[in-house]
Every structure is written in structure tokens, then in C-alpha cells.
Subunit: 472 residues, 2 copies
């Protein structure tokens, strides 16, 4: 006899968990839709030709690959086998599981370019799979909720990402959060201030680890990569400018000017003459802030311009975002940014877009850690009808049908078991109302209604039960 | 440059399709919940030890298997390779994709037997994957919506399945349907009436093909399997009894008595002395009908007792169901039945249950074929604000925020493009309302609202727009 189990890193979600997760999905969906994002769903299986090479070498390792159907090994030779798994792979698997929602989205846009209306705003809430080592807050199957706009470089999109993040977190009762924002242009200007060119990625990758390995760790790594000590001093002076969002913009501007960084241009249609009009990154960050002010955004204490924010993924080219819940020990619950060439590898170059993603599983864990879920029953049932024997059970059926027809999810206990067993069922499932329908009650044309939480019981004429319960 | 594609048998669902599919899911979910079924979700990946051997040899072939992570071929020897794919499989894959929702449910019940409250009523709406040859109405990734009760043998569950099917189809506007019902006990008694024993499965499998290969085909197959011509005559006489639900029960009863079929017992707690009290299948079918009458079910013209209904899956032991939409050329959209030993292979024997499933993709195709979907826009957006330049765009932001705050999904066109481009966007996406906010309007403190369908335009004071649109 096998003892059943599920693969590590995966989970079953019972009734209470599904109800809680649905609450999170609903808040996110309502927010996305109120901002005009339309839903898209893509297949779980994608061709490996679509997935491979999009997530770096590590990502390719973490892709779940699906064996070809039928006689999958028919083209494999002994030589293939001798060369090892990597050489074998293309012969036995041509499909894989969705690894994120961004690449399938890019693939969809490229495939449907002829029929889509741009700017195209889509959201997508689906599971993704990664063969990562499972640990706290990291699963092999988990949900992402993405919203992206492609086909416009308007910074309104960036401002609306901030608005949506604040609305979702507020809607979930998560009020102590920090939205970190930065711009790849700022990082590039910082790099230029150090006198270097063309190795920005090395820098981004090192800075990205600041949180994990600290200033000393990053210094060590940069020294190893050939950066000099004075350069690293300058770097940290720029990265760790202090003050408000606006003050930081100004101090970085001064720093870039002092270091003689070549201006890389304000946006051609920038709204107004700006403190940072000479550097695109600073200009755009200033404009995002202005758009937020104009939109009535009030939570600037929760929006932090953080020049150390790098985000590893190299396809970002403009603003980048990352969100933390402050009073919980948990990685970021949301992140995103602008990319200028997402669909290029699918034959559609030059489509600018910006998007972000919520990690539902991390939001769930935060809400649980902060005890922000309201009590969730193990069943949607509001009312259980108990009965004494086959005849009284059958006599209850019209009432059962009426309750359901008026929108009260209801059950008749299916067997004529002892009343105690039936009550225990209601109790274990968290059913709030129990109707008792025994031969006596039926004879008198009444039913007894018990409110489980208070224990209160009342006798109601059979004809009035539905109306009485509908009012409650 | 690769041309992107998706695996055959899979589909992308754009905004309009997702909205339509969500309508179907909502009708099903509301029905399941109003009957007290609670949601369950299980992982996409299951261990192959859980899946294999549960769906017959053909099913095992159709399982999608997932390659082990990392160096998957490390234990494969040249001898393994020489023996072929079947021998190789256990060395390279230990996980597979969910093939249906029943086996994961059984696995879940067995794993959580200690904490679940029985009877356990769960519903599950998730995709499943089968490496089947794709064709019309058959996909490799498709959704099932299952509801099951385990832990009771009450026939109320069977009656409620009929009620739920009728409610879901009615809720979708599908009124011309037939719910076929039969009972494995009836099929067994028919087999006994032929004088045989112990080879019922052969019979079930042959009868199951009646729809496809016709009476002649079944006759041929039964002759090959060693049944005699007179036996087959008797068989068809019993299978094709005519009349109402009740008349068929009586005619089969007479047939069984005439043929000397040993009574296999009425249910010990049957509601009343019944026409068919001697044969369990007939008794139970009669009781299901009585429970439906008592529940106020009126659609007996759509409930057909069909003694030829067999349903291939061998784990059914009691009532079986299958549902067709009559005015569309389409396979069954729902089916199910009672099983006495679903969890036995997971170490939990003797748990009786009954369940059924809706095929969402087939329901979708039926609704489309019958033109029963209402027009669905490509976006949830109700209102698009158009503008003329950066300044008027920015001036629109407070109005945009107000519209969203009052629950009207809204967008500001993100770029200051020509008005014609902005209107084309609204038109292509089916956005019903367009607000025009140009420098003139802003100076006058008004906005122009255009109702796209009628072309009607009205000028409204800026302060009254939200209230006016909320009323509409």
C-alpha cells in the first residue's frame, strides 16, 4: 500500500486557505481592472524554444521540462547518453512549464501583434513553476499576479503602478509598507560618475546584493572585479545620499555634475523644466512624483527613492520598483519596472513597456503573520438542516430548496444520524446556523433555529424561516 | 529569429475569452457553494506514484511526465536505453501533471483523513492535462469543475447532483439538455438476466460504445466476446425498454423477475415500500426520483433513465450520470457517479462517495455555438479620458482618481496623441464612455462626455461628472 504524498515545494489548499487566497486575488483583480487592465491567460505548457535563454543560465536550470509523449527515447543514441543530460534534453523534451508571466506575455504580444490595440494593458494571475530548492516563502508552484502596459513610454504608467501597489496593500489591510523606486538611468549615471563605461551590469549585480552581503561584501566583490577603492568610496557616497525623494534627486544631480557625467538628456516631452532635466533617470523619477501629486497620492512617506535598488533582471531599462512589508520578516511582495525591448527576441523589437508583479504566496504569508485574515469557515454553508429520520429529512427538502433559492448556501445533513453527530458536523465546519426539523416541529408547523455562536435558539413558523434568515 | 508558437492542443485566452470563461466558472461556483460544497485546490504536479495505474493503460500513456531536475540522466545506463522508453521512464521522471481532479481528491482525502470532517463536500475547478490527440472540443490543457461528497451513502447526494446540473445549465441559459441517469446495479442485473456472472466489465465496455458503433457494432463485439445471439436479443430487449422514468423501472423489474435474477436487496433504510424494492439499482433510481419530487424539481422531461448508459470508468458502483446539450453537436458536458472505494488505493478503504464534473471548455463551445454569450468588451474599462497635451492630461488626473474611487474602471489615454487615435483606442477596446478634456474645456470648468454607442455628447460641469456617470 503506497503512502500518498505530494511533491516537495507544492501544497494542497483546503477550503479555508482557498477562501483566503481568493480574497487576495479579488483585491488585486479589482485594482487592476479599475485601472483598465484586461485579463489574459496563457497555457501552462510553453515550447522550450520560447522559454530557454530568457532567464539566464540559472533560470534554464530551474525550468521544469516535460517529457515528449509516447516513445520519448526513440531518437536518443548511446553517444547522446554518454554526453550527458544537457545534450540529451533537446531529444526528449520540447515543452516546459511556465516560469513567469512576463515571457508568455511577450510571446503573446508578438504572436498577436496584428490584432491587438496598443497601448495594450493586460493583467495575468496564474501559477508558475520553478525547480528551486524549497524554503520558507519559496515554493516550486506559486502564483504571480502581473500587470503590464506595452506600447507607450508615458510615465503615467509608472505613477499608476505606485497607485495600484498602494491600493492593493491598503485593500488587504497592509498599511506599513515601503515602495522603493529607482531608475536604471540613475544607476548608469552613477557608474559614469565613477569614470567607467560598458560594465554597468557587473555593477548592478553587485549592488543588487547590498541587502544580503552588506557594504563590506559589495566592496570586496567590486575590488575583485577591478574597481579601485576611491571609486568605490564615490560609489557609496552617491548610493547613500540622504533626504527626501526630492532632496536625493537634487544631491545626485549635484554629484553627477561635479563628477562631470555627460547629460543623457531629459525626456523630449517632459512636463516642465525640472531640477533634473539633464539626466533622464532623475527627470523621470521627478515626473513620476509630480504625476502622483497630481493624482492625489498622499503616501509619500511610503515611497522611497532608493538609488541602491538594482533588481537583477537585465531587461529593465527605466524605472524599477520593489515593495516590502515593514513589520514582517519577508522578501519583497511586489516588484517591476520598465523594459524597452521585451518582445525583441520574438521578432517584435522596439516595444516599450512597463509592468509589475505581486507574489500572492508572500502576501498570504504576510497577512497570516500579521493576523489580518478574518476567521474563515471550512465551508460556504450558512445553514445546516438537521433531522431525525428519513421522513423528517424528506419533509425538509422544500425548505432547503427555498433557502438556496434566496441565496443562503444550505445543506441538509445527508444521513439520519443522532442529532449530536449532526451538530458536531456544523460545529467542525463553522456553519453559523442550524435548523432543527424533527417530527414534533413538523407536526406543529415550526422549526427551531439555533445560532451556533451564541447558542440562542428560537422557534419560527415554517413559513417564516426563509424571510427571517434572509434578514439576518 | 524564432517565430513564437504555443504547443498544439493549448490555447491563449484573451480578455474577452477570459471574461466569458469567468462567467461560466462563476455560475458553477455559486451553484456548488449554494449546495454547501467547499473549494479545494491541489498541486499541478503530482508524484507519478499517485497518478500511475489509476486511469488504465491508455491513461498512463496520456499522462504528461515531468523530467527530474538537474542531471536527470545520471542513473540511466546504456542497457536502460536499449530497453526503451518504458523502462527508462522511472529513472528520468518521478512527477507528472494532474490528469483529472478525482485522483488528487482521493489522495487529499487519504492524506488528511485525520483532520477532515465527514461527510466531506468539496468542489475543485482547475486545469488538467492529457497528451491526447487534439481535435474539436478536445484540448491538451482543459478545465474540469468537480464536486464530490465522500463519507455518506445518502441518495440525497445523487438527487442534488441532478439539481446542481439543472441549476448550472439554466444559469448559463442552456435550457435544452438531457440528464441521463443509470445505475451500475441495473447493468449488473441485466447481465445476470443473461445468465452470466463476473464478466460485467466486458459488457459495460461494449454497451458504452453503443452511441458510437451502434447496435450492430455492439452485437458484433459481444459475439466475439462469446455471448450468444439469443442472449444478445434479451440484452437489447432490456436495454431498450421504453416509457417514462417510472415505466422503465417497472418494465425492468418485470424483466428481471421473469429472467429469475436473484434479488440483490433493497437499501436497508429505503424511504418507502417501492416498486423496485427487490433490486438495489432500481430502488435507488426510484428513490432519487422521489427525492427530486420532494425538492420541487420540475424538469423530469429533461431527466432520462437510460439503461444503456454505462460510463467507462470502472470505479463507479452506484448511480451514474451523463449530460448532453441537445441542440449542439458536442460530447457530454457533464458526468459522474457513485464509487464505493475511491480512496482504497491510497490506504483508506470503504469510503463511499459520489461526484460529478463539468467540462468548462465544452460548455464554452456550446454557449458560443448557440450565441448565448452577451457581447464582451476587450477591457474592463468603462470610461476613457482623452486629452490634448501634457498639461490637459495632468489636469485630468484628479477626475481619473475620483472615477476609480467610485468604482468606475477608468483610463487616461497615456500619450498626448491626436484625438482620433485616442477615440480609435476606445472604439477598438469597446470602452462605452469617452470624456474629452481639452484646454477649452478645462478653462471653462467642464468636460465633454461622449456615449460611444449612440454618439450622443453632453457637456457637464467638472464637479458633476462622477455623480452623473455613477448614476448611469
Amino acid at each position: 500500500m503506497q503512502k500518498p504524498s505530494i511533491p516537495k515545494g507544492t501544497r494542497d489548499f483546503g477550503p479555508a486557505q482557498v477562501a483566503r487566497r481568493r480574497h487576495i486575488f479579488n483585491v488585486i483583480r479589482r485594482t487592476f481592472e479599475s485601472f483598465g487592465f484586461a485579463p489574459l491567460e496563457t497555457p501552462t505548457l510553453e515550447n522550450l524554444s520560447v522559454l530557454t535563454g530568457k532567464y539566464g543560465d540559472e533560470g534554464d536550470q530551474l525550468l521544469f521540462k516535460v517529457l515528449n509523449s509516447g516513445d520519448f527515447a526513440k531518437d536518443v543514441t548511446a553517444e547522446d547518453l554518454a554526453t550527458g543530460s544537457k545534450a540529451l534534453l533537446p531529444k526528449v523534451a520540447e515543452k516546459g512549464l511556465r516560469y513567469d508571466l512576463t515571457v508568455p506575455f511577450a510571446r503573446y504580444v508578438a504572436m498577436n501583434r496584428g490584432t491587438l490595440t496598443f497601448p495594450f494593458k493586460r493583467y495575468q494571475m496564474q501559477p508558475v513553476w520553478r525547480a528551486d530548492r524549497p524554503q520558507r516563502g519559496r515554493y516550486r508552484e506559486f502564483y504571480q499576479c502581473d500587470a503590464d502596459v506595452v506600447g507607450t513610454d508615458s510615465l503615467l504608467c509608472e505613477a499608476e503602478i505606485v497607485l495600484m501597489i498602494a491600493q492593493v496593500l491598503g485593500g488587504l489591510g497592509l498599511h506599513d509598507f515601503t515602495i522603493k523606486i529607482n531608475h536604471r538611468g540613475v544607476l548608469r549615471n552613477i557608474y559614469q560618475a565613477l569614470g567607467g563605461e560598458g560594465r554597468e551590469t557587473d555593477l548592478f549585480v553587485a549592488i543588487d546584493k547590498l541587502d544580503k552581503i552588506g557594504r563590506d561584501g559589495v566592496t570586496k566583490e567590486l575590488l575583485e572585479r577591478g574597481f579601485s577603492e576611491p571609486t568605490i568610496e564615490t560609489l557609496f557616497a552617491l548610493l547613500t545620499v540622504e533626504g527626501t525623494y526630492e532632496e536625493k534627486l537634487q544631491r545626485l544631480l549635484a554629484g553627477f555634475v561635479t563628477a562631470g557625467v555627460e547629460p543623457d538628456g531629459a525626456r523630449p516631452n517632459a512636463a516642465d523644466e525640472d531640477i533634473a532635466a539633464n539626466y533622464r533617470g532623475l527627470t523621470e523619477l521627478a515626473e513620476v512624483r509630480d504625476l502622483l501629486v497630481a493624482s492625489g497620492f498622499k503616501q509619500f512617506d511610503r515611497l522611497e527613492f532608493d538609488p541602491t535598488l538594482a533588481r537583477g533582471l537585465s531587461y529593465y531599462t527605466g524605472c524599477i520598483f520593489e515593495v516590502k512589508i515593514n513589520n514582517v520578516q519577508m522578501g519583497s511582495v511586489s516588484g517591476g519596472g520598465r523594459y524597452d525591448n521585451l518582445t525583441g527576441s520574438f521578432g517584435l523589437p522596439g516595444v516599450s513597456g512597463v509592468g509589475f508583479s505581486f507574489g500572492v504566496d508572500r502576501l498570504y504569508d504576510c497577512l497570516e503573520a500579521l493576523d489580518l485574515f478574518t476567521a474563515t469557515a471550512e465551508t460556504p454553508t450558512r445553514c445546516l438542516i438537521t433531522h431525525f429520520d428519513v421522513a423528517s429529512g424528506r419533509a425538509a427538502l422544500p425548505l432547503l430548496a427555498q433557502l438556496r433559492a434566496t441565496g443562503i448556501p444550505s445543506e441538509l445533513y445527508p444521513d439520519a444520524k443522532k442529532l449530536g453527530v449532526q451538530f458536531k458536523y456544523a460545529d467542525a465546519k463553522g456553519i453559523p446556523l442550524v435548523i432543527i426539523m424533527g417530527p414534533e416541529e413538523i407536526a406543529a408547523g415550526v422549526v427551531k433555529v439555533k445560532i451556533m455562536q451564541s447558542g440562542e435558539e428560537k422557534l419560527l413558523p415554517l413559513g417564516e424561516v426563509v424571510a427571517a434568515l434572509t434578514v439576518e
